[in-house]
Symmetry: C2
Subunit: 354 residues, 2 copies
């Protein structure tokens, strides 16, 4: 019998994942011993994957989505870049992206062998001029981020889509984290707003599914064709996923969470997250910290290393931005009460340190 | 509430995965909402991963293993080939492997951009002469399989290791399925039997862990260094896994299953699987089918397409080898009773068809 216990979420402010919705947990437990990567054997979970894909399309403005539930955003981003590389005709592929892209694109560059060209930001968002300047004849994809990991910003997706279209390259949107929040904002980010080809959008983040359940959407089936690999001993057609055996728990829980929460539940969760992020940003501003005003519910503030360390010692799971600011992600498990306790601890620590 | 139900295992003869051991299921459910890919936030599951890696090393004859629990064998095989590619100094990398290698190597070849050279077999096993002939100055890895997917055969691992050593390339063993069976045989397959550099060995197959829990072992930490990618906003060192967010359920259940079953439980399961495979092979031979004598507990027999289809219609989850034979994998959930029912159905169908 294992004595270790999982962490509680009552002090987790650093994660882009969260406690699964109860319906998602139930589904994950029921479908724990299923493998959607082997549809000839595990048939019923495949039907749930179709259901999940269909709702994911609705979330992202795509009437007839092609897609699958990936292990995570890294698999989805690698696969999108693999599609881009394999569609293009160059031996020196490059990808142009704002420097706010997730580190999975750096991983994808190493794995797939392309040159990742990152461009400086303008007020935390992609600078379209800088992007356009770096695109050349070997560019296989332009990437935009709809909800950056560090500051929760949304790139100018329609403008980036035009740059990609002019260059004849694939346009990929990474909405892994933002995708279940953005439908309740005025942002232009999805397939119905711009000529998006592929999108990463993760049920196991704001979608409240159990891990592992990322999502990769493509405008049409043709995008997946170059990825097909024959699967001799499986009673199913070729496989296009990056991984082989996949988590039925993740797939079933993604279907269950979206069935339960789309759209009303997600709308409500987005409003709560928003209020908490604003409350926390205000509380930090009042204490004279430099706060990056939240757009999506991520709060960044320069609180200094000593205070940061003391908060970690007090049990708070918090993380840094690359520039060293405190970074708090207001996920569904983050309540106002948690925010109050966090600020109370902060005040105690400040008193002690001054 | 989802109405779909997962398949039962009472007619599953096609899968290399199985019902998780009860301890593995409990652990998976407890650690469902944890992400070992973010060790700064989810600390306790990381300790379980260390435990799992340590036992995995014991299973594979490696005293001080470096490793991580992958999503599946495909991730592990891709990562091993990525290590091989990145360590070598060639712009035209190739990998030499017997044609019995799992299709994940074909996927890896496309993803990573190497030339996969497969060689003909000798009695279902790698032909060492054929392998040696294909190795050249651009070869970055030689691959051996310890328990092939289709016929459960073990390649001559020590001989292949020597070929790789002579050529100065990495030597990888794919023991994804066989790894929890082979310790109870006389086969030479692991790190203590030969100069193996990396190995795929999956807890979620004969290890009886819940999916997704593959495993990648390397002889020393240095092998993972070329894979490291910076992870700015995670409170942890660089990430070497292929995926980012990973399944804590898979990791915790791998640790729990191995804690429970290594070595006595696995020895017992191997003996039962062996007896069932022999019983089934005998039953099929008695009925005048051409049977490939099982070495590891996979039974292949040429029963004809009509009978195969009728068995699928009767609810049996069975699959084909690439050459069209029936293929049955005697996993821990496969009981003698199931084998008897299967053969009884087969007899009914034969009577009907003759």
């Amino acid at each position: 019998m294992q004595r270790a216990t999982p962490q509680e979420f009552s002090r987790v402010l650093s994660s882009m994942c969260t406690e699964p919705h109860p319906a998602a947990r139930t589904a994950a437990e029921r479908f724990l011993a299923t493998n959607p990567g082997d549809p000839g054997t595990y048939e019923t979970v495949v039907a749930l994957e179709d259901e999940a894909v269909s709702t994911l399309g609705a979330v992202a403005g795509l009437a007839e989505p092609t897609d699958y539930i990936t292990s995570d955003k890294t698999e989805a981003n690698i696969q999108a870049m693999r599609i881009a590389r394999d569609r293009a005709d160059t031996s020196k592929p490059d990808v142009v992206a704002p420097e706010s892209v997730h580190f999975s694109f750096h991983k994808a560059a190493d794995v797939l062998g392309f040159d990742l060209r990152t461009t400086p930001l303008d007020a935390y968002r992609a600078d379209t001029d800088a992007i356009a300047e770096r695109v050349d004849a070997d560019t296989v994809a332009v990437v935009g981020v709809a909800g950056t990991t560090e500051y929760g910003r949304v790139d100018p997706i329609p403008e980036l889509a035009e740059i990609a279209a002019d260059a004849g390259t694939l346009f990929h949107v990474d909405a892994a984290w933002g995708g279940f929040y953005l439908p309740f904002t005025d942002h232009k980010w999805n397939f119905s707003h711009a000529d998006v080809d592929t999108m990463t959008i993760d049920p196991h983040k704001l979608g409240q599914a159990a891990m592992p359940a990322g999502g990769l959407l493509a405008r049409s089936e043709g995008f997946f064709e170059p990825l097909a690999v024959d699967t001799p001993y499986l009673e199913s057609p070729a496989q296009t996923s990056l991984t082989g055996t996949r988590s039925g728990a993740g797939v079933a829980s993604a279907a269950a969470a979206m069935d339960e929460l789309w759209p009303a539940g997600y709308r409500e969760a987005a409003a709560v997250a928003d209020e908490n992020a604003t409350w926390l940003a205000d509380a930090l501003s009042e204490r004279d910290y430099r706060v990056v005003t939240p757009e999506l519910p991520v709060v960044a503030a320069a609180i200094g290393e000593e205070v940061f360390a003391a908060l970690r010692d007090a049990g708070w799971r918090i993380s840094h931005t690359g520039r060293g600011e405190l970074r708090v992600v207001c996920m569904p498990h983050v309540t106002r009460e948690m925010c109050r306790e966090f600020v109370a601890d902060l005040d105690r620590i400040r008193e002690h340190h001054t």
